[in-house]
C-alpha cells in the first residue's frame, strides 16, 4: 500500500482552507522583492484530511500495541495529558507577556522544577533543554564552565563508557572537550581498573548511565563515583534510564553532580514520531549557579503573608541560554499532569513494574536467546539476536519478522558492545497478556530461525512496504519532491 505525495494530489487553482478577508486598505508592496511562484500544493481540506489520515495508518504506535524499544521508554501516554496541555489558558499565552499575566504558567514551571528536584535529589533544575541530547550538551557545558571558573583549565577530557548512548560522546565533542572511552567488565559494569588508569588532572568528568544501556545496575556505582570525584572530576548522569529508579533511588543522593531527565520517557509525554521532548537538567548545590537561565523562582522580596509570586532568575555564572524562551512548556504541562496524578507512591510503583515486566519477559525467553550478562535486570535487558546453530540469521531478521506478527521490534544493534544486540524495554504499562504475547512471538521466531529461516530473511511481508533499499537512498539521495 502506498500513498501519493501531497504534491501529487495537487490540482491547479484548487484552494484549501481560506484565510480571512482583508479589512484595511492595501499598502504598496516592495516591488522587486516579491517572489514569482510559491510551489506549494493546491489541495482542499478534505484532501489534506484523507492524505494524512491514510499516512497515519501506515505507522505503528504505542496506541496500537507494545513498542518495546530499549532506551526509549515507550510507555502509555495518558490521554489527560493531551487535554491539559491544550487548555486555552496554556496554548494561548505568549512567552514574552509580563510575568503578572502568566503566573499560572510560571507556577507550573516552578512546581515541575521542584518535583524533578525531589525525584532526582538535586538542588537545582532547569527545564529549558528541548531533548535528552540537549540536556547532555547543557550538562557538559556546565561541567566545563565549573572547572574553568575554578581555574582548572586543563580539564579537557570526558570519560565515556563504551556502552554509552552515542549522544554522550557527541555532546562532549560539541562542548569542545575530548572523549576517552572506558571499557565494560565481564559483568557489564564500568571496568574499575580501566577507570582508575584514566583518571588524572585532565578529567572534567565521567558520563555515567545507571542502570546502564545493558539494563544493568552498576554494581560498583559508589566506587565509580568516588574514583572520579577523587581526581577532581564531576559525574554526569544520563537519565535516559530513570524509569527504573523513580522512587527507588535518587541519583543526587549517590553523588551524581548533574543529570538530565527525559520527560518524554520517564514522565509519559509522547514521543511525537521523533519529538518534541524535554531534557530537564538537575544539578547538585555546587552547580546551581551555572544552570542556563532563566529559571523560575519565587520572588525573594515577598513578605510571609503575600501570595506566591514567580519571577525569572538568571543564575550568576550561567553557561547561557540553550534555547529561545523557556523550554517546551507544552511538554512541561503534560509531565506536571502525570506526576500530579501518580505522586510519590505511583512513581515508585511505576519503576517497580517496569523492572518486573523486563525481568518477566527476560525469564520467558532466557535460554533461547543468548544472554551476554545473566543478572537481574532493571527496566530493560539486552539479548543477542543470533543463534549458534542458525548461522544465517541476524538481529535485523528477527526485528523484521516481529513486524510480521504485528508488534514493534526492540532496539537493535545497540549497545555496540553486544554482538547482534536486541535491547528490549517493555515498560510498566504493558499487561502480563501483552508480555506473554510478545514472548510467544519471540520464541516462535527463534524456532523459525532454525526451521524456516527464509521467513526471517524475507520479512516483513505483512507491512505497508517490504525491506527498503537504504544503500540506494544514501548513494543517490532523493531528499525532496522535484516539481
Amino acid at each position: 500500500m502506498t500513498e501519493p505525495l501531497i504534491y501529487e494530489l495537487s490540482s491547479p487553482g484548487r484552494e484549501g482552507v481560506k484565510p480571512p478577508q482583508l479589512d484595511v486598505p492595501e499598502s504598496a508592496l516592495p516591488q522587486g522583492w516579491l517572489r514569482e511562484d510559491l510551489p506549494l500544493p493546491e489541495v482542499s481540506e478534505i484532501d489534506v484530511v484523507r492524505h494524512y489520515l491514510r499516512l497515519s495508518q501506515l505507522n505503528y504506535a504505542i496506541d496500537k500495541g507494545m513498542y518495546p524499544l530499549g532506551s526509549c521508554t515507550m510507555k502509555f501516554n495518558p490521554k489527560i495529558n493531551e487535554v491539559t496541555a491544550r487548555l486555552p489558558g496554556f496554548t494561548g499565552i505568549h512567552p514574552l507577556q509580563h510575568p503578572d499575566d502568566v503566573q499560572g504558567a510560571l507556577y507550573v514551571i516552578y512546581t515541575l522544577q521542584e518535583y524533578i528536584k525531589a525525584i532526582g535529589g538535586f538542588a537545582g533544575v532547569t527545564l529549558q533543554p528541548a531533548a535528552g541530547a540537549h540536556g547532555e550538551l547543557t550538562g557538559v557545558l556546565i561541567m566545563r564552565k565549573y572547572h574553568l571558573e575554578r581555574g582548572e583549565t586543563q580539564r579537557d577530557t570526558i570519560l565515556v563508557p563504551d556502552s554509552a548512548h552515542g549522544t554522550n560522546p557527541a555532546s562532549t565533542s560539541m562542548s569542545g572537550l575530548r572523549v576517552v572511552e572506558i571499557p565494560s567488565d565481564a559483568r557489564g559494569n564500568v571496568d574499575l581498573d580501566a577507570l582508575r588508569s584514566q583518571v588524572c588532572e585532565r578529567v572534567a568528568g565521567l558520563m555515567f548511565t545507571n542502570p546502564n544501556t545493558l539494563g544493568l545496575f552498576e554494581e560498583h556505582m559508589e566506587d565509580v563515583i568516588d574514583i572520579v570525584h577523587g581526581c577532581g572530576g564531576l559525574v554526569y548522569g544520563d537519565g535516559a534510564n530513570m524509569n527504573a529508579l523513580t522512587g527507588i533511588m535518587r541519583p543526587g543522593d549517590a553523588g551524581i553532580d548533574v543529570m538530565h531527565f527525559n520527560l518524554h520517557k520517564t514522565f509519559s509525554t509522547p514521543h511525537g514520531g521523533g519529538g518534541p521532548g524535554c531534557g530537564a537538567v538537575g544539578v547538585a548545590a555546587h552547580l546551581v549557579d551555572y544552570l542556563p537561565g532563566p529559571i523560575v523562582v519565587l520572588d525573594p522580596n515577598l513578605e510571609e503573608e503575600d501570595d506566591p509570586y514567580f519571577i525569572f532568575h538568571e543564575p550568576p555564572k550561567s553557561i547561557g541560554r540553550v534555547k529561545a524562551f523557556w523550554g517546551h512548556f507544552g511538554i512541561m504541562v503534560r509531565a506536571y499532569t502525570y506526576i500530579r496524578m501518580l505522586g510519590s507512591e505511583g512513581l515508585r510503583r511505576s519503576a517497580e513494574h517496569a523492572v518486573l515486566n523486563a525481568n518477566y519477559l527476560l525469564s520467558r525467553i532466557k535460554g533461547v536467546y543468548p544472554l551476554p550478562y545473566d543478572r537481574i535486570c532493571k527496566h530493560e535487558f539486552v539479548v543477542e539476536g543470533r543463534f549458534k546453530d542458525a548461522p544465517g540469521v541476524h538481529a535485523l531478521d528477527i526485528a523484521k519478522r516481529l513486524i510480521d506478527y504485528g508488534v514493534h521490534p526492540p532496539t537493535n544493534y545497540f549497545p555496540l558492545i553486544v554482538p547482534e544486540a536486541l535491547m528490549i524495554e517493555p515498560t510498566e504499562t504493558e499487561s502480563r497478556q501483552s508480555l506473554d504475547n510478545y514472548a510467544d512471538i519471540l520464541l516462535k521466531i527463534a524456532q523459525e530461525a532454525h526451521e524456516t529461516p527464509d521467513l526471517l530473511h524475507a520479512a516483513p511481508q505483512n507491512a505497508p512496504v517490504r525491506r527498503l533499499d537504504e544503500v540506494r537512498a544514501a548513494r543517490n539521495p532523493v531528499l525532496r519532491y522535484e516539481h
Binding site: 501531497i6 482552507v17 484565510p19 482583508l22 499598502s27 516579491l34 510559491l38 481540506e45 484530511v49 499516512l55 504505542i62 487548555l87 489558558g89 505568549h94 502568566v102 507556577y107 531533548a131 535528552g132 541530547a133 557545558l141 566545563r144 548512548h165 552515542g166 549522544t167 557527541a170 562542548s175 569542545g176 522512587g247 533511588m249 509519559s268 509522547p270 514521543h271 511525537g272 514520531g273 521523533g274 519529538g275 541560554r321 540553550v322 529561545a324 524562551f325 523550554g327 507544552g330 506536571y336 500530579r340 496524578m341 505522586g343 515508585r348 511505576s350 523492572v355 525481568n359 518477566y360 537481574i376 532493571k378 523484521k400 510498566e428 517490504r466 537504504e470 537512498a473 544514501a474 531528499l479
Partner: protein, 452 residues
C-alpha cells in the same frame, strides 16, 4: 494503580516465573542506604481533580489568543486551521517513536519527506532536514555547519546585531568550547555593508536575519557574492520568518548557503514559547556536513516506493564523537503540524496570509504614527513588525494598555530597551492576520489616550 494494569494474581505469577519472592528482590543490587527515599511530592489526585487544578492554573493566565495582542519578537499569534490539530492528535502520529523501523513508520517518514520538500520550496534551497528544537538552536547549528565545512580551521563568525537577541545568546552558548571569535557588535543601526566588510578569509560565516529582530527587511541582492569573494566561500546564513516567504523572494534565490528560522508561525500555537520548530535548509553540496535527520526516497525489494532515514553516518548513533551534531530527538510532531499547515493553506493561502500581515502591519504603522507623541522608526521596509518611538518607557505604556482603558485589555509590543540600551522608549509592534482593523484602531485610540 493508575496506568499499571497488573492484578495481584498476575504479579504473583510473574514473580514466580522470574524466581524471586517479591518485587523488592529485583532491587537488591541498589545500595540499601539509597533505597526507597521519601519523595517530597504532594498526594496524588484523580484525573478529575488534576484537570480541575490545571484548569484553575490555566485560568490565571491572560490568553493572548483572545486578547488584542501586538506582541511578537520571535513568537507570533497566527490563525491555526482546525485540520492541523486534527492531524497531530492522531495517536498513530503522536504516540510513535522516531522512525527507526522504516517498514512500520512510512506515515511519519513520508510526512517528513513532504515537510523537507515544502521547506525547500519555501526557502528556495536544495535540501532541508527533519527539524531542530527551535529557530535559535537551528541558527547555532548553522554556525557549526559552517565551522565544520572549513574543517574547524576558520574561527571567525560575523553575527548581525539585529539577529534575535536570544538566538545570539544561544549561538554563544553552543560555541563556547570551540574558541570562536564572534564579531559584528551590538549596535542595531549597523549597516549590512559594514558587516560584509568584516568578512575575511578566516571567516566561516556571516549570519543575517530578515525580517530582522526589529522587523526590518534587508536587500539580499549581491550579498552572497560579496561574502563568498571576501571570505573565500565563507557561508552566508540567513534567518527568516517563514510567513514572509509567502510574499517575498526566498533567500535561496539570493545565493544563501544556509537558511534557518523559527517555524512556529506555520500553524503552531503560542504555547508560552514551546514546543516550536527550527527549520533548516542548505545547498545539496553540504548534505554530509549538516546536522539533523534526513529522510530520503527509495524503493523496497519489490520496487515499491518508500522512505527511509538516510545519510545517517553524520549522526551521533553511528559516528559518536565525530558526528556533525549530538541531536537525536527533534520536533517531529511540530514539523508535521507545519506540513499540514502549508498543505492546507497551499500556494494561494500562504500568499494571502503573508499579504494580510503586510497590509495590516502597514495600516497599523500609519495609524500609530498619526498619534501625537508616537513615531514609527522607518529606516528600512518592513513585513509584519516595526519599531515605534514612544513618549514614555514601554513598560509604562503596556501597563496602561492592559489596565487603564475601560472594558478593554490590550497586550502591547515588546520593550526593546531590554536588549538594546540605546533603545529606551522603543516598542516593537507585531501585527498579523489575527489583528482586525477594529483591534488596530483600538490600539491607536488607546495610545492617544495615554498621558491624558
Amino acid at each position: 494503580m493508575v496506568y499499571i494494569p497488573h492484578t495481584d494474581a498476575e504479579r504473583r505469577a510473574m514473580l514466580a516465573t522470574i524466581g524471586v519472592a517479591d518485587i523488592a528482590a529485583l532491587f537488591a543490587d541498589i545500595p540499601e542506604k539509597f533505597r526507597y527515599p521519601q519523595l517530597d511530592l504532594p498526594e496524588p489526585l484523580s484525573e478529575m481533580e488534576t484537570l480541575q487544578e490545571l484548569q484553575f492554573l490555566a485560568g490565571l493566565n491572560l490568553n493572548a489568543n483572545t486578547t488584542p495582542t501586538f506582541l511578537g519578537a520571535g513568537a507570533y499569534r497566527h490563525w491555526v486551521p482546525s485540520v492541523v490539530d486534527y492531524v497531530i492528535s492522531r495517536g498513530e502520529f503522536y504516540t510513535a517513536y522516531t522512525p527507526y523501523q522504516a517498514e512500520v513508520s512510512q506515515g511519519t517518514l513520508q510526512a517528513i519527506f513532504e515537510y523537507e520538500s515544502m521547506i525547500c520550496d519555501l526557502t528556495g534551497m536544495d535540501i532541508a532536514n527533519a527539524s531542530h528544537y527551535d529557530g535559535a538552536t537551528a541558527a547555532a547549528e548553522a554556525v557549526i555547519q559552517a565551522y565544520n565545512v572549513f574543517r574547524k580551521k576558520r574561527n571567525k563568525i560575523v553575527l548581525a546585531p539585529t539577529v534575535h537577541p536570544q538566538y545570539r545568546q544561544v549561538i554563544h552558548t553552543y560555541t563556547q568550547g570551540m574558541g570562536l571569535e564572534i564579531v559584528g557588535g551590538d549596535d542595531p543601526t549597523t549597516e549590512i555593508a559594514h558587516l560584509v566588510e568584516l568578512v575575511d578569509e578566516q571567516t566561516a560565516c556571516l549570519i543575517l536575519q530578515t525580517p530582522d529582530f526589529l522587523g526590518q527587511l534587508h536587500d539580499l541582492s549581491g550579498l552572497a557574492d560579496a561574502i563568498h569573494a571576501r571570505g573565500k566561500d565563507a557561508q552566508f546564513v540567513v534567518i527568516t520568518n517563514p510567513i514572509s516567504l509567502g510574499l517575498l523572494k526566498p533567500p535561496g534565490d539570493y545565493g544563501a548557503d544556509i537558511v534557518v528560522g523559527e517555524g512556529q508561525p506555520l500553524g503552531l500555537g503560542l504555547n508560552f514559547g514551546g514546543p516550536y520548530l527550527g527549520f533548516y535548509a542548505t545547498r545539496a553540496q553540504f548534505a554530509r556536513q549538516m546536522a539533523g535527520r534526513l529522510v530520503g526516497k527509495t524503493v523496497d525489494i519489490e520496487g515499491k516506493d518508500g522512505y527511509v532515514m538516510t545519510l545517517t553516518t553524520r549522526e551521533q548513533h553511528i559516528r559518536r564523537d565525530k558526528a556533525t551534531s549530538n541531536i537525536c530527538s527533534n520536533q517531529g510532531l511540530m514539523a508535521l503540524a507545519a506540513t499540514v499547515y502549508m498543505a492546507a493553506l497551499g500556494k494561494h493561502g500562504l500568499r494571502k496570509v503573508a499579504e494580510l500581515n503586510y497590509h495590516k502591519a502597514h495600516y497599523a504603522a500609519d495609524a500609530i504614527d498619526a498619534v501625537e507623541g508616537f513615531a514609527v522608526v522607518r529606516r528600512k521596509p518592513f513585513f509584519n513588525e516595526f519599531v515605534v518611538h514612544c513618549p514614555a518607557p514601554v513598560e509604562e505604556i503596556n501597563r496602561f494598555l492592559l489596565e487603564e482603558i475601560e472594558a478593554v485589555e490590550i497586550i502591547g509590543g515588546y520593550d526593546l530597551a531590554q536588549d538594546y540600551p540605546a533603545m529606551a522608549n522603543h516598542m516593537l509592534v507585531a501585527v498579523t492576520e489575527m489583528n482586525s482593523r477594529h483591534e488596530i484602531d483600538l490600539l491607536a485610540e488607546a495610545l492617544s489616550a495615554f498621558g491624558d
